[in-house]
């Protein structure tokens, strides 16, 4: 795979790559926000309906800022809605982890912890990015994400170290979802170019701090970290699991059924 290929060192982070890189961040926030919004009205307690809705709103807000920025980089006149509603599945470049179905509340929480720590590490790093817009967007998003992690890790500890049933459930979800974490730290050309241009961090370094944080939380939650698996999904390159298509056909329904009108 592309891991082995040698990418020439270049500080020139061209428009197409920058567009693609920002779009990855945008799609990851958007798809996760969309998934979380499915809980609203169906959560285990009324207070949780409100909590999950807040996280969903933060993520969609982040996605809107990032999509608008991506549209500006692309300079082809596409706005946030055209990018969100009129791209096909293989043009979406979110991490495969975030398109996974909600499952039970514990499964949603496991997915959230894995991605919250990743986003928190990444957004914190963006403070030193050479991309000014990313710095600005991250400055706002990092505060939101800090709260997301407080919420999700709090719940993971409760469920991991709760009852026998809850422990078994979240450990199973963790085992199931772990394979999608490899993608978070497996760089491709765009990641390497972004790193070389000082736009994004080295994913290996990011992985170190991510693992450290994850281990702390899993330890407190009395959960066991699963072994890494060799297969890598590449959602960020448009290689998606079967779930994304369904999510998009739902999300994009009105825009597709009534093209070209205003809502």
């Amino acid at each position: 795979m592309s891991r082995a290929s040698v990418v020439p060192v270049s500080v020139d982070f061209a428009q197409t790559e920058r567009f693609r890189y920002v779009l990855r961040l945008a799609d990851t926030s958007l798809i996760l926000g969309q998934r979380l919004s499915e809980w609203v009205g169906h959560a285990p307690a009324l207070e949780e309906d409100l909590g999950v809705a807040n996280i969903s709103l933060d993520l969609i807000g982040q996605a809107r800022m990032l999509l608008s920025y991506a549209g500006e980089i692309e300079a082809a006149g596409r706005d946030e809605d055209q990018l969100a509603y009129l791209r096909d599945q293989n043009d979406f470049c979110n991490l495969a982890l975030v398109e996974q179905p909600n499952g039970d509340f514990g499964c949603t929480i496991v997915r959230q912890v894995l991605i919250d720590v990743w986003q928190l590490e990444l957004l914190s790093w963006f403070d030193a990015s050479t991309d000014q817009r990313l710095r600005e967007i991250a400055a706002k998003a990092v505060k939101e994400t800090r709260y997301h992690l407080r919420y999700s890790s709090g719940w993971l500890v409760r469920l991991g170290d709760g009852t026998e049933e809850s422990h078994t459930r979240v450990q199973t979800s963790l085992n199931d979802l772990w394979k999608f974490t490899t993608e978070l730290f497996t760089p491709d050309e765009i990641d390497r170019l972004a790193e070389n241009a000082g736009v994004a961090p080295n994913l290996n370094v990011l992985r170190g701090s991510w693992l450290h944080r994850i281990d702390e939380i899993l330890n407190e939650a009395t959960l066991t970290r699963p072994d890494d698996v060799p297969y890598v999904w590449f959602g960020k390159r448009g290689e998606h699991t079967e779930y994304l298509g369904h999510l998009l056909s739902d999300m994009q329904y009105l825009q597709r059924a009534y093209p070209g009108v205003t809502w």
Binding site: L46, E47, G51, N54, R150, G154
Partner: protein, 97 residues
């Protein structure tokens, strides 16, 4: 209380709207402990920048006065009007007092 074990207990929520103001009671919510109650208070009661600080306290830990005692508690203060500045007559020409 066995009921307490089955259900999330009730917490009362107090919000300081902005620095300089006191915390004010706004309502209640359910949570398993104070940590969760704070997060719930944030999500339920501060969606529109209503506050800069939150207090939560278990409803069971509040001791309230009994309305039946209101006479004994609060009536005696009624006739002590000498505690209020308006009780004292000072000629208008005297300033700054």
């Amino acid at each position: 209380m066995s009921d307490e074990r089955q259900h999330w207990p009730l917490f009362e929520v107090f919000i300081r709207a902005r620095a300089g103001l006191e915390h004010k009671h706004v309502g209640s919510l359910h949570a398993v402990d104070a940590k969760m109650a704070l997060e719930h208070a944030r999500d339920v009661y501060t969606r529109r920048m209503e506050g800069v600080s939150l207090w939560v306290v278990r409803s069971a830990d509040i001791t309230a006065s009994d309305p039946d005692d209101a006479d004994a508690f609060f009536e005696p203060a009624k006739d002590k009007i000498y505690r209020h500045p308006t009780f004292y007559e000072i000629p208008d020409e005297v300033k700054n007092i």
